[in-house]
């Protein structure tokens, strides 16, 4: 081939070939209509931090020292990106606590205050807002979700006659199909029953979203748009710390609040008292009273996912 002496004709042909192949590559680049000069982003974290973040291990595999480092690294990263001092905690599950939630459908009026409380608390991407709670406006007398309308108008007076309202969020199943589906164990059930995601381990394949019967998992299709003034600086590694592009997220029962004995943001935001949250292992808790004395039911119970989220009516 080229290693041999070439005649001028051969040389010309070889040159033409290289030129032609180069032209094909160039034409392909043009046809991709990708910006040839991508806007250079200001590096939001030091090279060293990015390097260590890349090789960061799975949350459950890190030693306590490595976790401390990872938390500090995240805080530096958020400081550089948003210029806000974000606290990233990793409060462990409380002893003898398994969380459960019950929602009174006869009290829910469809105000969607829980949705607002959730997005204020959990640092989701804004405009359009990523929401963990979806409230369906249902026909009275029907539990067919297909007839529910999640897009009923913001300005319309609720409750409307002949309708009832069904808020749906992550049900924190005892037998979570999403955890089974994840190929890299980036999502798991904590001892207190909360199903969490390690946003630094998720590869973004969306297997979990396909497995979830409650449509509770939301994906970051683009770099999250989180205005500085909307940031909640009190965060948890497995909870509401600001997320990245290309990873899955979901309701964590406000892990950053509930592990400190507070109520989830949606429970506090609800003006009608339709939401009851508490420790399922505490026989004197309100949630236990509801489960024992009310006519409770669970969504899609036939799938055996064993949700820890119940609905009831008075």
């Amino acid at each position: 081939m080229k290693f041999f002496r070439q005649s001028p004709d051969q040389k010309r042909r070889a040159a033409l070939k290289t030129l032609g192949l180069g032209a094909a590559v160039g034409a392909g680049a043009l046809a991709s209509s990708a910006n040839p000069l991508p806007s250079i982003e200001v590096p939001s974290a030091s090279f060293e931090d990015n390097w260590h973040e890349f090789f960061q291990q799975h949350y459950q595999r890190m030693s306590p020292e490595e976790i401390t480092e990872a938390l500090a690294r995240l805080e530096r990263k958020y400081k550089a990106k948003y210029d806000v001092d974000v606290h990233v905690g990793n409060a462990p599950p409380l002893e003898g606590v398994v969380f459960g939630y019950a929602l009174n459908v006869s009290k829910c009026q469809g105000y969607r205050e829980c949705v607002k409380g959730c997005t204020t608390e959990n640092n989701q991407t804004k405009d359009p807002d990523l929401e963990y709670i979806r409230v369906l406006e249902m026909e009275k007398g029907s539990m067919n979700l297909e007839h529910g309308d999640p897009y009923y108008g913001e300005e319309e007076p609720v409750p409307k006659p002949g309708k009832f309202y069904l808020p749906i969020q992550c049900h924190h199943c005892e037998n979570p199909p999403c955890v089974k589906a994840c190929p890299v164990k980036a999502t798991w059930k904590e001892p207190d029953g909360i199903v969490v995601v390690d946003y630094n381990w998720c590869i973004g394949c969306r297997m979990c979203a396909n497995a979830c019967p409650y449509w509770a998992r939301k994906f970051n299709w683009h770099e999250p748009k989180l205005p500085v003034e909307a940031i909640n600086p009190q965060t948890h590694y497995l909870g509401n710390r600001p997320r990245f592009r290309g990873v899955m997220e979901k309701c964590t029962f406000c892990i950053q609040r509930t592990r400190e004995g507070k109520m989830p943001a949606c429970q506090e935001a609800c003006p009608t008292g339709a939401r009851v949250f508490g420790n399922l292992l505490d026989p004197h808790s309100e949630i236990r009273f509801v489960l024992e004395n009310k006519n409770v039911f669970r969504l899609k119970e036939e799938l055996n996912t064993e949700p820890k989220f119940w609905y009831y009516s008075d």
Partner: protein
């Protein structure tokens, strides 16, 4: 040293060719470059550049992946007659089939890779240093079986060619064992991919026991049809001469597999629509449309028309043996199944969502460009493999240090010894 020389010789052969060859390579390079640059854009902006959404979280990429798994699995339809039944004509082309399987499994992996939100973390998807949720997650099964299948289809032909190149006999028992293994493996890649969908009880459209058998039927229909088309083209452009018997055998396989597929389709339609419940909503959206939304309806019906048309042509022996008609029928089957098992299977699984929302999906131009890039990479890999393969099989390319005459004499002596041994065995027990 021998191995290096073998690889270098193969590369040299792959990179030599006439003007038409280089125009083909240039065309592929154009599509690859377009795909790579578009993919760079996708990684910079996130998957928002695709048409996918929380409602429809898998789209064109996974659809193509699902289809190509079938193409990859189909190589087994040449492996069985060649290595198990020692069919001479199948043996001549089996390496091509395996080359196609290599290209198809590679494309499958690329389609999964471009679908990831965080491709930089793909190393997490490994037993070490990542974290492998095996055996629970079906995607880990797919990673295992696809990589295994790729390895098998690289190693068997590689081993055979390496020995042919050196003028040596290969170990027939070893190849037989590997062929049996790859036979089961081909079934497994398709079953696992079907279970990837069928394991989601949240998605009634996918969660059916019929998905895996139907995947196999469509695979053994679209796959051999695709192989027939490739063979007919290669035969036509003198890239590789293919025997008639192989084509005829594959055509019968396509015809039978398509009939089985259509029977299963009918069974599915009956169950979905005779007593139509809430779980039939996805099928209703796919075949009839729902809530004024019906973008898949014309596609799925044209797919079924193509499938029925193909089977009508293939059922008649006279038509099947006319290679123009056969080509048309195979093209119809490939396109029909590409629609039916790609977008026609993956997308309606998401519509309506588990919460009953009907939200449609349409691939964006960028998704199509990236997919074209992946397909071009597959075609490039196949092209580069075919050249040295053909040269070695024809005896054009061999180890220059090889004494051709001595090798020939050795082979003849061995053949003679084998024949004598067989005759001797007859004489020992005349009844047998």
């Amino acid at each position: 040293m021998d191995l290096i020389r073998f690889v270098v010789d193969c590369l040299k052969t792959a990179l030599s060719g006439g003007r038409a060859y280089w125009i083909w390579i240039g065309t592929l390079l154009f599509f690859i470059s377009m795909g790579v640059f578009t993919y760079a854009n996708q990684t910079a902006n996130g998957l928002m550049v695709t048409g996918m959404s929380d409602q429809v979280s898998w789209g064109f990429y996974v659809s193509n992946f699902t289809f190509l798994v079938g193409v990859a699995a189909a190589a087994v339809m040449l492996v069985i007659p060649a290595y198990i039944f020692h069919n001479a004509e199948a043996k001549r082309v089996v390496l091509l089939g395996e080359g196609l399987a290599v290209a198809a499994s590679l494309m499958c992996m690329l389609f999964v890779a471009v679908d990831l939100g965080r491709p930089d973390r793909i190393w997490h998807l490994s037993p070490y240093p990542g974290m492998f949720n095996w055996p629970s997650s079906l995607l880990t099964w797919d990673v295992l079986v696809l990589n295994g299948y790729l390895a098998l289809n690289l190693l068997i032909p590689g081993y055979i060619l390496y020995h042919t190149y050196h003028g040596r006999e290969y170990n027939k028992n070893l190849v037989f064992a590997a062929a049996v293994l790859s036979m089961f493996w081909a079934i497994s890649i398709h079953t696992v991919t079907a279970f990837l969908f069928a394991s989601n009880s949240a998605r009634p459209f996918w969660s059916s026991a019929l998905v895996a058998p139907r995947f196999l039927a469509t695979a053994f229909c679209a796959g051999p049809a695709f192989i027939i088309m490739t063979f007919l083209i290669m035969h036509r452009i003198n890239a590789y001469k293919i025997g008639h018997k192989v084509i005829d055998m594959l055509a019968v396989i396509v015809a039978i597999a398509m009939q089985i597929n259509l029977i299963m389709l009918a069974a599915e339609l009956f169950v979905e629509f005779y007593a139509e419940g809430q779980h039939s909503a996805n099928a209703r959206y796919l075949f009839l449309g729902m809530g004024g939304k019906h973008s898949l309806v014309p596609w799925i019906w044209s797919a079924q028309a193509l499938n029925v048309g193909a089977v009508l042509i293939l059922m008649v022996e006279k038509f099947r043996k006319n290679y123009y008609l056969l080509f048309v029928a195979c093209a119809m089957a490939v396109v029909g199944i590409w629609i039916e098992k790609g977008m026609g299977f993956v997308i309606p699984g998401f519509i309506p969502t588990p919460l009953g929302e009907v939200f449609e999906y349409k691939p964006t131009l960028m998704e199509v460009k990236i997919s074209l890039g992946v397909l071009a990479i597959g075609a490039m890999v196949f092209t580069l493999m075919v050249k040295p393969l053909r040269a070695i099989q024809m005896g054009i390319l061999s180890n220059p240090a090889l004494d051709q005459r001595a090798a020939l004499e050795l082979a003849e002596a061995r053949e003679k010894a084998e024949m004598l041994a067989r005759i001797a065995s007859y004489e020992d027990n005349p009844e047998g």
